[in-house]
């Protein structure tokens, strides 16, 4: 029972890292960025290619490079795709639908490029990037990657929360999320903030994608696909754009999955997860942490 605890916490950390960026996007854009999973994978396969070009490059050097690289990629998607869609939108539902499709489509393009770059083969970050060590906690094996995941999740979650709550830009972002038009009238540079939010969420994906690849040990260009659906569920269940809610629900889902998965297998694990999502939505139709307007993010 206790032996599964580190694994559940590690899985929860993966979910948290993934949903942080997704929630930030949603809070600002009012839509789900379905390209987020592909950005995760992009961080992993681009880093892998980089280690082939520059052998022996350590993890601490890869982290900032991928944060900047994927951040730029994400900002580019906002400027080239999401922003033009909103500019031509005929209403909130319409923008929502078209942004969903555009996100999925961008994801497909990124995944294909990744598959070509990796020759459709599974890959792994070289062992030199981070020496994996295992030690005992309460009689259960724990790897340093699992610990790193948890630390990254806690640090980045706190950092993001601090940014959104206490910085000038963060408060402005929340204003945009509540009412774009009013925010613009107040003189808030809405477009710049949107690009900034997407870049930030991309940078998060860049960092988290690397940890995720190390945690899995191996991946391929499709490695973000499964995470995306889980994260979609977490973000929705948490409540609109609620960062705290997302973290809580990442842990709930991860613990349910880790324990059901251990005792009943992967097939029933997925049945249980989806059943849980439906029941949760029936009980709390607006998510776990529905907030009053203006308190979002």
């Amino acid at each position: 029972m206790l032996g599964q605890l580190p694994n559940a916490v590690a899985l929860a950390s993966v979910y948290t890292l993934f949903t942080l960026g997704l929630t930030l996007c949603w809070g600002v854009l009012n839509v789900l960025n379905l390209a987020h999973g592909a950005l995760f994978a992009a961080s992993a396969f681009l880093a892998y290619r980089l280690t082939q070009v520059v052998p022996g490059i350590p993890l601490w050097a890869l982290l900032p490079i991928m944060a900047v690289g994927i951040g730029l990629l994400s900002a580019l998607v906002q400027v080239l795709v999401f922003a033009p869609i909103r500019a031509r939108g005929a209403g909130e539902h319409d923008v929502e639908m078209r942004t969903l499709i555009a996100g999925v489509t961008v994801a497909a393009a990124i995944t294909t490029v990744g598959a070509i770059l990796t020759e459709h083969q599974p890959f792994a970050l070289p062992r030199e990037a981070l020496e994996v060590t295992t030690f005992d906690v309460l009689g259960a094996p724990v790897t340093n990657v699992q610990v790193l995941l948890l630390v990254a999740a806690v640090v980045l979650a706190c950092g993001l929360l601090g940014y959104v709550r206490y910085t000038r830009d963060g408060r402005a972002l929340r204003a945009v999320a509540v009412d774009r038009r009013a925010a613009r009238l107040m003189g808030i540079p809405v477009r710049r903030l949107e690009v900034q939010a997407l870049a930030l969420s991309g940078a998060l994906a860049g960092v988290a994608g690397l940890f995720f690849a190390l945690y899995l040990g191996a991946g391929d260009a499709h490695m973000g696909d499964t995470l995306l659906l889980k994260a979609f569920a977490i973000v929705i269940l948490a409540g609109v754009g609620s960062l705290g809610g997302a973290v809580v629900f990442a842990f709930v889902l991860a613990f349910v999955e880790a324990y059901v998965g251990y005792y009943a297998g992967a097939d029933l694990r997925d049945v249980a997860a989806f059943a849980l999502i439906i029941v949760m939505l029936l009980v709390r139709p607006t998510g776990l942490f529905p907030r009053a307007i203006g308190q979002r993010a």
Binding site: G217, D225, T226
Partner: protein, 396 residues
């Protein structure tokens, strides 16, 4: 703005026009000389591309070899490759088009659930259909026009596990399998009986999903049973993930499996995949127990600059099967009907292929001896001490 839209509209109209012309007919031989037209439908994009590509490479290689040697009785082979994108609808559509078109023979590799709906279409149109890999029930059952090349690895499991027991001291094993994959699920269901027959304890049977995000939990389950060996039948990167995760948690036993460990599956696990064995119809080696396999290894390496794998060997044998049928036809016109009759004749006698000599058939499914390959840290090599194949010829 108006111009952008007009351009888009024009582009679209042009596309429609091309489609109307393009998807209708097949190819006819230039200059009147008769050709034998192969349509090769394969997954060249999407998740199965990693297996589809080498199949096509192997088939193309053999078509080139045959044509360079002057063709068969004056006839050249043509090969038209269609990408099915690991998508069932596209595969079925391509099959329908090929069956209604001019293709003399249609080939496909490698996914069972894609081949399954294609087979009845081939049977209805009476076009010979030669499938590579695709190890699932119900494909060749579609009828006498459907053949399957490369042995279903279910045949190899009993001799493989016996070898693991005798040479690697495996007395207990856990089974890790992808529960959303046809072939691995089928094998996983039969393994407990095989293990019982060989006196081996199955400690646990652990399902994982393709592209799963958590391998620590299944690894913990495997370790709880403390097995000597682990049967590894995940899909794609899942194999390397699972192996790495288990090694990091101190597992020091052997891994063994079948087709899912071939190709580049073990590359990411690198040194951690030490002591990993797999049963396969073919592995590049100059020590293979059948000479035709050694020849294929040499010729393919010389022609392409890289060593063949079991998938390119399968693609080679799909074409070689047709080649032998055409040889037996002699100067008789090779329409679909005649070709299918000739394939049946060749199948009853067997032929020398990359995966065996002879490649024999049971109910139109290829049966070859198979060998054990092992991971040397960077590539698959023939495991030592094999003077015969895994299966004695003629057994199943």
């Amino acid at each position: 703005m108006r111009t952008t839209r007009a351009v888009l509209a024009l582009a679209l109209a042009a596309g429609l026009a091309t489609a109307a012309c393009g998807t209708g007919g097949g190819s006819s031989a230039p200059g009147g000389a008769q050709t034998v037209d192969i349509t090769y439908i394969a997954d060249l994009s999407g998740p199965a591309a990693v297996y589809g590509k080498p199949y096509v490479d192997g088939a193309k290689f053999q078509v080139d070899q045959i044509n360079k040697a002057g063709g068969v009785h004056g006839r050249q082979l043509t090969i038209d490759v269609v990408d099915s994108g690991t998508d069932q609808k596209q595969a079925v559509a391509a099959m329908t088009a090929a069956a209604r078109g001019d293709a003399d023979v249609v080939m496909y590799a490698p996914i069972g659930s894609l081949a399954l709906p294609m087979a009845p279409i081939a049977q209805q149109s009476k076009v010979p259909f030669i499938v590579g890999q695709a190890a699932s029930k119900g494909i060749t059952e579609a009828g006498d026009h459907v053949y399957r090349i490369t042995t279903n690895d279910i045949h190899y499991w009993e001799p493989l596990i016996a070898r693991m027991r005798d040479q690697n001291g495996v007395k207990s094993m856990a089974i890790v399998y992808a529960s959303d994959n046809t072939s691995t699920t089928e094998v996983a269901q039969q393994l407990p009986d095989i293990a019982a027959k060989l006196g081996i304890t199955v400690t646990d049977s652990v399902p994982v999903k393709s592209n799963d995000v958590d391998y620590a939990t299944p690894a913990a389950k495997v370790l709880a049973g403390d097995p000597d060996g682990v049967v590894m039948m995940a899909v794609g990167p899942g194999n390397a993930s699972m192996i790495t995760t288990l090694r990091q948690r101190g597992f020091d036993g052997v891994f063994f499996g079948g087709a899912s460990l071939a190709g580049g599956a073990l590359v990411p696990a690198a040194a951690e995949a030490h002591d990993t064995y797999l049963a396969t119809p073919f592995v590049a080696s100059d020590q293979l127990p059948w000479a035709s396999g050694v020849d294929f290894t040499k010729e393919y390496t010389a022609a392409t600059g890289s060593a063949p794998d079991n998938f390119s060997a399968g693609g080679h044998d799909q074409v070689e099967f047709v080649h032998q049928a055409l040889e037996s036809l002699g100067d008789t016109p090779s329409d679909r009907n005649a070709l299918n009759g000739a394939l049946a004749t060749v199948a009853s006698k067997g032929f020398a292929g990359a995966t065996g000599d002879p490649v024999t058939f049971a109910d139109r499914n290829a049966l070859t001896p198979g060998v054990v390959a092992m991971w040397d840290g960077t590539k698959l090599v023939l495991a030592p001490g094999q003077t015969t194949g895994l299966m004695a010829p003629g057994t199943s």
